[in-house]
Symmetry: C2
Subunit: 429 residues, 2 copies
Amino acid sequence: MHVYHAGGVIHTPVQNDFEIYENAYICVEEDGRVNGIYSVLPKSMMHFPVTDFGDQILIPAFTDGHIHSAQLPNAGLGYDMPFSKWLGELTYPSERRYREKEVYAAVNRQLIMDFWKYGIMHGAIMSSTDYGATENLFEQYLDSGMCALIGKMNSDLPAYGAAAESTEASIRETELLISKYANKNPCVNYALSPEFVPTCSDALMEFLGDAARKHQLPVITHAAEGTEDVEMVRKRFPQLQTYGNVLKHFGLFGGHPAAAVHYNMAEPEELRDMAELGVIYVQCPNSGMDMGTEKLMIMRKAMNYGVPCALGSDIAGGHTCNMFRVMVSAMQLSRITALYEPFEPLKTAEVFYMATKGGGKLFGKTGSFETGYFFDALVLDDGMISPFKAESLRERFERILYAADPACITLRFCKGKRIRAPKNRYTKN
Amino acid sequence: MHVYHAGGVIHTPVQNDFEIYENAYICVEEDGRVNGIYSVLPKSMMHFPVTDFGDQILIPAFTDGHIHSAQLPNAGLGYDMPFSKWLGELTYPSERRYREKEVYAAVNRQLIMDFWKYGIMHGAIMSSTDYGATENLFEQYLDSGMCALIGKMNSDLPAYGAAAESTEASIRETELLISKYANKNPCVNYALSPEFVPTCSDALMEFLGDAARKHQLPVITHAAEGTEDVEMVRKRFPQLQTYGNVLKHFGLFGGHPAAAVHYNMAEPEELRDMAELGVIYVQCPNSGMDMGTEKLMIMRKAMNYGVPCALGSDIAGGHTCNMFRVMVSAMQLSRITALYEPFEPLKTAEVFYMATKGGGKLFGKTGSFETGYFFDALVLDDGMISPFKAESLRERFERILYAADPACITLRFCKGKRIRAPKNRYTKN
């Protein structure tokens, strides 16, 4: 057992409210799981070693529910361009370069560095279709001590250009990655990652659905982003009609963990299905706000159907994986759309839940300090953010959230272990 | 003459496009004004001293077109609250505390520090109604080397509570501040600052209009933020009807520099008047996105009428005076509203223009590197932002803009002089 003391402990066991402790102790078992939060340290705990974070604030570490590793170099670039130009001039060239070892090794390393910097101890990462790049991301992640779900993107049908890969290669390489990395490590696991229905053949989706069921692996896929892809799906599957039905039909939703990204065009039945099947909805607010191509799903609407919700950076559709800023953007987006649509804006506790426990559901017991959850935590020092007195811990935390400065994250823990800045396996340092 | 060399020079002499120089020289006259930008240094300039910024990028320093100094401690706080609760629990108490010397001295100092940190060499600051706090802000600013327009807020009628001050005190204190600070210093000047029409008596507005004309001082005021205040103005001035007509009637618009903040409800005639009278429109995107109380003016609409446009932080309606983030928010807001309203989203060059030359119009020749403009500049190092190659200077700049990290601002210049971090006149250091 190890005891941590902090000036404040903040988490969201439920979606709509903070649970806040002043001057509290968190006791963490040897296996890295939280034993409990105590305002007064129980006698039975007093002989354990204590680490005191002073007046700093302890929060659960973040989960980024969706990011494209290959596009990290494009973060912040080209948002003035029309979507097709952005794809052609930035996204595709970036995916092509990501096939070269010296490129993907550097990009993957930077992704891990960025996640570390922003306190993202759990990341759901969609790699490109490239086998080598994906394998390299696994290898580097396994050194980091942090957690990730990583998948080679599957995409064997043409959409905006030629098909990225053959069906046979897609299946063979996915099988190889599954055999190497699926269910082998407590921190890093494989996520089946069909790009989206329009670029996946029936055979490929069947294979992925079978693999998900057989290995109990999560499926993470884009769904129903706009009118165009929804129409393509409707035409191709006249009996099934919706993305949701297609994904269920091929076994991609249901019977194993799953997440759907974007899903702006989800029909009520699809949202009901997600709630029933426990499919996590990942919204990437900056992606919509940076690209401006589609009206985004109103988060409140998905929440009203009982769909479990998470937040993603969607780099490079979105410009940053700073989860503080992703949370602020989610609130800002909801406040603006609430002036046009009949849905209440998101509250601070709600977006914080999504960035911690909500996205954490993809991984298991993370994103909360409830008993039995892993001690995946960030220590926050607000000293450099504002010299002004705060009336409460909540005010201190709100300032940190809106300041969005990663320098306020002074320590990171994953599964009970302190995570230092990742080493570079490609240098001797 | 002094010569500066940089890897890139970026500015926006016109509103809709960047002018970008690679490896260029800027020659600056002894009086701090730009002589010219040169790709090859002319022979006649070669004997002048050169400062080489290496491959760093030089841009015009920012102008924050609107901030409430008294509310700085509230930045990031209370955006879950309904507007009236936010006013009652945060804004008013903050304004009250700002009457105490030890509070306003610390808050004003922090404001100057923040503006320095974020490269805001020109700030339009609305102080509270307090004389002492406003005087202190002038005194501290005069030490800083940076430029500001500062005004004591005028507010002699009750709106949400009691009136903040009497008409007589408002006029007397404003006259005193004008006599001490108006047109006395090249960097810091007085701005007449009526809060908004509903809280200003006819007598007060008459006085302010006269003072603006007589001393040729700028007027900066909130206008037509929502349906409620527009209705109050319509009832009180049945002959004049609109804010614009009232402000013209009392001489607050026209014949001297002026800026209107928010103006979400501006009628077409009001926008035409602003364009004709050169009244600058200051939008504060984060204010709308953080509070979510009103649909904001569509910037493109104001631009289409030829209204000169600027950006403001509106702390604490907005959560930050990081102008990079204010620019990103302006673009994000415009992209979301463009999905609901028939107006093109804002482009990067447009928001950059507003944050530099656009807002700079309140001050004179600042915000651009055109010949005759003051060398008000920021040196940007993108080294820590991204390790990835950029295809162009524009890509390097876009990354800096979206990363929004003030650490990339390595040097600041105002009127040709390097500005160091402000000293604290209240300590001996």
